[in-house]
Symmetry: C2
Subunit: 482 residues, 2 copies
């Protein structure tokens, strides 16, 4: 029989080395494994099930806001990527190039998509003629490739999965409204489904998407105090429309360039889930995206073995299709080993049923988030389980919110700023004049970057820049980031 | 206002040129468009919605049979693909190669996956240790690339979308049972959801998958009399397990090589849908996979314009979430233009509501499959629409089944065989001795290939080979194929 302690002992405690803890957990919980190609990963069924739940819950919101899914080619002719000057400058250094196909050298090298603006705009130019064709609201779920030097499972991999929305509008106002609408969709999704509180804001010129007019993002705080960009929404202005000639005949019969947006979230969100909620015993999955919401473990002893097993199977069958409940009736593993494994995988609620529970007519329920144990009578299960899961969901969000609150600090001067960043990390709110030179200097000296200029301005008042003290500006969110 | 006849006039009649009809329809129905990379296509929202319905209906069956989804890398190191000799021989000529990444020449070239046996087996070798790890039942939905010289939308494209199942078993019998089970899942799905009757059978040695022990397929007959392979299921034997060293400690403590299967269907199925059901007016979508099952077109005249529009909106709202119903209240398009457009897109049922329908308290329903018109009272809609859709689904299947029956012929001698293939096409059932030389000779002289050796042997009796007359064998299905 496998050793009870095997799971936990192989995981480095967070306090010892958070980064190693992360790498240990993603492997141990069977979220992924390293592939034979550098920087690429195989997403294992347990990890992929999280992505499928994300696809379903976010995908539903994307459709509900009027977008339709489509699929554009993986390969982009190099000349297309080069059309928009800022775009190519941003992406050219990290592309993978196909140079041979069918045994022959290709006349034009093909870029494996790092993002799809170029290929999609080349199609949109054909599809859009008139104001009647607008707005065009399309999304795609796909793989993308960015040749990364330093990779980390889920957070930064050479190939990753994402969704990318690409919309076209008749006016600047509509494009800006769409950009902000999708930022709001992301915030709603990440907070309510992933139980991760985020700050929504605008990126600086330096940090914006290559080719965008304006980039907005949602920013989350990991439990090691580093920030993670969890989703971005770009107002592309007419930058791409002008180089790809996306024009439409407007109602006034004039030929006009269209306004565009693009927005995306990726498998990176799985990294955020791990780092926001996890602890030394492994993952803690928010129930709404948990691949397994409830695990039922029969405690099999000689006494009443068959009755316990039968009752466990009966209960599992009862919840089939109602909850994502898994019965763990594997033989050859002790209950302790199973508990550790499911805790590592972050299953929100464990139900145990042994001879004594059977006698008492119920099960013992153990919460992953609090460790709290309670007895639930069989007749109450159908009503109680969804309530407990809902409570776990809210508690995980509340814990993350409190952590973020405790780790969001206002810096009054540069020394104070530097000390907070180096000693405590977390978010630092500080006035910034808007000058890229100050932004760069702060980054050089503290490794902190401006995460965003918050939409809900906490301190709407302008003050002297934390760096130069000369210029004035509103407060920005700073942090060291993944 | 757009011209009523625009849609139909731009489509070549099937009788004039079936191949051109196909190309016209895929563009005109907005299923796809040609991308700037040769042989690649953009799948437009209407086409992709069919694929999403396929994913949902087939994906449900794949999960119900115990398989879990995962995701493996797009890139395969060239050395991995080369491990299995037959496999590399089959796929090497048509691969796309990434030779540069991040601005540098790669030490080892990467193959863009043409299929994932090699990369998946390299992971399975790490994951499988014991009989407890078996069976391993994994599926993935992804894009694959095969550098094709002659491409055709959906049927043969350099990049396409598919699902590929990859399973590992402890015994040969289990692997064979899995292979046949998934063939059965495909047949059930294609017949009941896509309304396409198929023949299930075994491929010859010549036609089997590169690296497989045995390949099974389902074969459909297009309305031009050519066959299309609609899905394949492979028993891989221990071929891959031996070269990738997928071994497990069995219950008897012996270390054994595992047995594997793989199986897949692709966006090719969309091509089959078009060619089996379509006519000169466009697509005919089987209701179960139709992106739009019912279109509601208000007939707006001066008289009672607002009342008609309000009633149409009320009805559309009533079916929201119950049927995939679309209200076409666009202005600037005549009813005739709309009718043509929705017929081109193959929407199974059109509902018209005009001033007279309003007076009569109902709508006019027009079936895409038969053209039949009927009046449905408002109060009967909720009950009637699902029944009509079900009837359309069954009728499409029945029409295709009859067509196949009429176009499946028994050949008595080689002249007869050649005449049928050249004059009538369709399926030809003929005895075959099992010799690859005869198979090759038949192909050279008639362009017909053996589609499969049917599982349900229609004529279980052996007879003299249609080619050599010397050897004897059971009947095989022959056809010219896509």
């Amino acid at each position: 029989m496998a050793n009870d302690k095997e799971f936990v002992k192989e995981v480095t405690p967070q306090a010892v080395d958070f980064s190693q803890w992360y790498l240990d957990v993603v492997l141990k919980a069977e979220l992924m494994d390293y592939a034979p190609v550098k920087g690429c990963m195989a997403i294992r069924p347990y990890g992929y099930a999280i992505w499928e739940n994300i696809q379903q819950l976010l995908g539903g919101r994307i459709k509900a806001t009027g977008h339709k899914n489509a699929y554009f080619p993986l390969f982009i002719p190099q000349s297309l990527l080069q059309k928009e000057a800022e775009h190519v400058e941003g992406f050219a250094p990290e592309v993978a190039l196909v140079t041979r196909g069918g045994g022959e050298e290709l006349a034009e090298k093909l870029v494996v998509r790092p993002t799809s603006e170029a290929i999609i705009c080349s199609m949109y130019a054909k599809w859009i003629q008139s104001w009647r064709d607008l707005p065009l609201l399309i999304n795609q779920w796909c793989n993308v490739v960015r040749w990364e030097k330093n990779t980390r499972p889920f957070l930064r991999t050479s190939e990753f999965l994402w969704q990318e929305g690409h919309t076209v509008h008749a006016t600047e106002d509509e494009a800006e409204a769409e950009t902000l609408q999708m930022l709001g969709v992301y915030q709603d999704f990440v907070e309510n489904e992933l139980a991760i509180p985020v700050v929504a804001g605008r990126k600086t010129e330096k940090e914006k998407f290559a080719g965008a007019l304006r980039t907005y993002s949602i920013e989350a705080l990991m439990s090691d105090g580093r920030a993670l960009q969890a989703g971005t929404s770009h107002n592309l202005g007419q930058h791409f429309a002008r180089v790809f000639e996306i024009q439409f005949q407007d109602k006034d019969d004039e030929l006009k360039y269209a306004w565009q947006t693009s927005w995306g979230v990726s498998t990176r969100l799985i990294g955020a889930l791990i780092m926001v909620h996890g602890d030394d015993r492994g993952l803690k999955m928010p129930p709404r995206v948990a691949p397994v919401q409830v695990v039922l473990v029969p405690i099999l002893m000689k006494k009443k073995k068959e009755e316990v097993l039968n009752k466990a199977r009966e209960l599992a069958a009862r919840f089939n299709g109602k909850l994502r409940l898994e019965l763990d009736d594997r033989e050859g593993y002790s209950p302790g080993w199973k508990f550790n494994e499911w805790e590592m995988k972050g299953v929100p609620l464990r139900l145990e049923i042994g001879p004594r529970d059977l006698e008492n007519g119920g099960v013992t329920a153990v919460r992953r988030d609090t460790g709290e144990k309670s007895f639930v009578a069989e007749g109450d299960l159908m009503q109680q389980l969804p309530l407990i899961l809902q409570d776990i969901q809210e508690n995980l969000f509340e814990q993350a919110r409190q952590f973020r609150q405790e780790n969001t600090r206002h810096a009054e001067d540069f020394d104070n700023f530097r000390n907070i960043i180096s000693e405590k990390r977390g978010f630092v709110l500080a006035h910034w004049c808007g000058d890229a030179a100050c932004e760069e200097k702060i980054k050089e000296q503290t490794k902190a970057t401006i995460r965003c200029l918050p939409l809900k301005e906490l301190d709407g008042v302008e003050g002297p820049c934390i760096c130069c003290y000369k210029g004035r500006g509103k407060k920005a969110y700073f942090a060291r980031a993944y």
